[in-house]
Symmetry: C2
Subunit: 210 residues, 2 copies
């Protein structure tokens, strides 16, 4: 429990910094390959001209994701955990040192692909966003509840694949809201762009409200 307490203290520090600099911060959680980076790329294509955005990438190995983000000309830092299964507030605090915080209004933290441990670690974010893809099964909110319980927003991604998978959007919603009745739900396809606008509208609204 000592680890979580120490993490809480650092998360508070991060949160104070974000508040002072007026930066809206989201921590993106999902299984490997649900589409975190693809959704970020689509988001940057849509609003990075109007909003100062930066990204902190977290991965076990490689800087593949940071390279994908860098192509969109926004500040990005890659954290490589060397086997660690989740980001923590210390790793994020270190990464913040390399970001031009005064120029940023929106910071995305893409966590390590893992639906279990990252849900337990506060990074100092405003909220966690859990992403599930239609190819993983509609039972996942019940089987991996912490990520859905500790998030405030949930994105169902890869809706373009619905015709080809046994996934019930209705059952998924029932299961997700059973675990966390306050979840804000978005449905989208990072591939076709469908549903991205509702998400980017929500983001710009959140930034405006501060």
């Amino acid at each position: 429990r000592k680890i979580l307490e120490k993490n809480e203290d650092l998360a508070k520090l991060n949160r104070e910094t974000f508040k002072q600099k007026n930066i809206f911060v989201l921590d993106l959680l999902s299984s490997p390959g649900s589409g975190k980076t693809s959704i970020l790329e689509k988001t940057l294509e849509t609003i990075s001209k109007q909003v100062g955005i930066a990204v902190i990438e977290g991965d076990v190995q490689t800087d593949n994701d940071a390279q994908r983000i860098a192509k969109h000309n926004v500040p990005v830092v890659q954290i490589i955990t060397m086997g660690g299964c989740h980001l923590d507030a210390q790793l994020v605090r270190n990464a913040m040192d390399s970001l031009p915080l005064d120029e940023i209004q929106l910071l995305f933290i893409e966590n390590v692909g893992n639906l279990v441990c990252p849900a337990e670690f506060d990074l100092g974010e405003h909220e966690k966003v859990v992403i599930l893809s239609t190819t993983e099964g509609d039972d996942k909110p019940l089987k991996y509840p912490a990520a859905f319980r500790n998030a405030r927003t949930c994105i169902l991604n890869k809706t373009d694949l619905l015709p080809h998978v046994d996934f019930s959007v209705e059952d998924f919603k029932k299961n997700a809201l059973k675990i966390n009745p306050n979840l804000t739900l978005f449905e989208m396809s990072a591939k076709t762009g469908e549903g991205i606008e509702a998400w980017t509208d929500w983001l710009t609204q959140k930034i405006k409200n501060g």
Copy 2:
């Protein structure tokens, strides 16, 4: 490190029991929703009449997967980790107590859906099998290397979705064999049954060789 040492000792005990009872044991690893249970169901449909099979299921919450397996009339035990992100040798040893080990030739352990931590814990199995679905991306062996390095066999599942995703089977194979040149690779679709026969032939061969 103490945790891994204690786990090693218990894994040895498990392995001795499996050797005495002449049971071939596989530990199935994957992200959430890659198709571990679906592949097991297809496998049971194909060979559970010729081979004595049992299943140990590992999940954070619910016994959904054990219920799916129980429909195929084979012995199954559900381990609920209550938030733990991986199975360990102790949990498996406890579960073994509820299985009719003398009637079993093949034991599957379906691990918690997580491509990071489960790769590090020896359960006493003969080998780990890592499952990746075509919907997760062909870069995953590089990004989550431990699961591919510590497995001997790798299944690419959901090949029926290949026409609808940006997944290169060639790049995937290159990436997987870069991390572990000794991997035995299978390609299949648990939905259509394509490729299942090569896998069940391999299983019956392994059981025969003891």
